[in-house]
Amino acid sequence: MRKNQIFPNAFLHSSANRVYFVFHACPSPATPSPPQRYPHPPYNIPIAPSNPPGQSLRSNCSNYYSNHLEGTVLSAALTHVPALGFSDAALRAGARDAGYTDATASSMFLPGEGAWELVRWHLVSSREGLGAAWRESWEALEEKEDMAEEQRHKVLKARARQLVVERLRMNTRAGLVARMSEALAIMAQPSHVPAALRELAWLADEFCFLAGDTAVDGSWYAKRGALATVYAAAEMFQMQDGSVEQLDTERFVGDRLDEVETLRKRVDGVGEWLGYTGWSVVNGLRSKGVRI
């Protein structure tokens, strides 16, 4: 009876190794999964460059708004945020620009939620605007199956850095850097925290997706967690950054990603050592007749 327990154990271990090998070292792109099942469309499908805000590349992510009234008014309102802040006043100004009235702006959302909806709209539309242009200029990673593991990581990191910087530049281009502290205060309100964190998670996922990362092993969480942390820290840094063209922010992003890379290597090393030592101990004990 005890012997039976040994074999499944060993089998699981080896199969885990195989899974790791198959998905991590050489992802097989031969049969792209149908898009209904798999949230990422196959990379070789060209995506229309004009992607109107509110329609994600990945439609399962962010369809908050049931009709395009909200999108029209919020887009117009964002242009008033640099002057009026994330506020009902900006929302009203946007509604007037879009041909609606003040009554539209105040009836559109639940009472008191107008400012939050503006913040969320900025987050969503920026994320969706990160867009396909990046991906087209990049060779899909899986085309180079012979690429070494370290090389892959290098490429992914470079792309992630570019994407994070691009996303931060979107804040600058929209003139919102001075207002980001306001947005942060709104996001930090208890009722908005879950949605804000979800939006951050989706942003990190978008970074990974656009960078061409297809790994589905344990590093899935680690990468997204790391990118979310780096992005949030970089946005905080950006608010205070007075350097020319915010070059300090870009350097900051690079440094943080380097740290993540270092950390990954160390964790990998420690994990490898632990795994090796652990199995050595187990096998040593087994050779002494211990039934484990």
């Binding site: 009709n67 009234l69 009203r92 041909g99 003040d102 009554a103 105040s106 009836s107 559109m108 959302f109």
Partner: protein, 326 residues
């Protein structure tokens, strides 16, 4: 539309203890229990091509509803506030305050940006079925105090002259009695003859629409008078979502409210009608669909429950040309 099974079930149990003893003494023309006995006869009479509508649980000819509702409100006008306080335990004031705060009426004259002079200063608000002025005074107070907007004006319409008289009387205690910002107009919500097309920024109706004979027609009329981008806002009793709470609420409304009506206002029948009309009103989803059918864009989920769904705020926005709802 059939009587909802929940109500039917309830009626089987309650009349024994509370309603029946009163009924036998009073000769009532539209009690739910008398109607049980008369139902066969009355519906068969009405089946010969006459259009019918509900007056509480009672099915009556469409032409009669206006007069019957009129009688109810004429009879409750003077004790309207006391009764509302007793029936809702004062909560109706909170609902109305919240309703108005959410609408945020008024535009600060300094905030209106110069290039967009399309809007005349101040909002033009139409408060339908608002005879006693409850909502109108709050709207004007909010515009003045929050937005420093002294140009927003409210037209209160009601079909019932007694309710309007009550509102005029109350207006004397407010700063708006002699100003041009507040006017009282007698009008039928289904046919607002004095209100031109595309002229209203905000159309409010609080605890009124369930008494309308033809709600769809009233909604279409609201759509007509609102300007593109104008908002329709309705505060109305709705359906409680929680079963346990609903049981308690039904007991309260069918057991206590007519009794309170009898004791305080000496008028049981009117209050019996009120609770029946609440039970008869469509639920949140159905009413949202009615608003959409009238042509409005319904933002977000379309409604907001108050006190677990005892009341609900529904909103709709009239689309601007060229941006019809998808």
């Amino acid at each position: 539309m059939a009587i909802p099974p929940r109500i039917a079930l309830f009626r089987r149990r309650i009349p024994q203890s509370i309603v029946r003893p009163v009924i036998v003494r009073h000769c009532r023309c539209f009690s739910s229990c008398l109607r049980d006995a008369q139902q066969q006869k009355s519906t068969s009479q009405l089946d010969d091509g006459l259009s019918t509508t509900y007056f509480g649980f009672e099915k009556i000819a469409t032409g009669l509803k206006e007069a019957r509702v009129g009688a109810v409100f004429s009879s409750v006008a003077s004790s309207y506030d006391t009764m509302n306080d007793l029936m809702s335990l004062g909560v109706h004031r909170l609902w109305k305050d919240y309703f108005v705060r959410g609408l945020d009426p008024g535009t600060n004259p300094l905030s209106a940006s110069p290039p967009s002079n399309a809007l005349p200063r101040g909002w033009n608000i139409l408060d339908v079925a608002g005879g006693t002025g409850d909502i109108a005074f709050r709207l004007l107070d909010h515009a003045s105090n929050v937005h420093n907007d002294y140009t927003t004006r409210v037209t209160v319409t009601d079909i019932n002259l007694d309710m309007l008289a009550e509102g005029r009387k109350r207006a004397l205690a407010t700063p708006y009695a002699r100003s041009s910002r507040l006017s009282f107009v007698e009008a039928n919500a289904e046919n607002l003859v004095n209100i031109p097309d595309n002229s209203v920024d905000l159309y409010t109706v609080a605890f009124g629409i369930r008494n309308f004979t033809n709600k769809e027609k009233a909604l279409r009329e609201a759509y007509r008078v609102l300007r593109p981008g104008g908002a329709f806002a309705c505060l109305e009793f709705s359906k409680v979502n929680n079963t346990a709470f609903d049981a308690a609420y039904q007991r309260w409304s069918f057991g206590a409210i007519p009794l309170i009506g009898q004791l305080v206002a000496g008028d049981r029948d009117s209050y019996q009608y009120l609770v029946e009309s609440i039970a008869q009103f469509p639920n949140q989803t159905e009413f949202k669909d009615m608003i959409m059918d009238a042509g409005f864009i319904v933002p977000g989920r379309g409604w907001e429950d108050l006190s677990m769904g005892i009341a609900a705020i529904h909103k709709g926005i009239k689309p601007v040309e060229g941006s019809a709802p998808q």
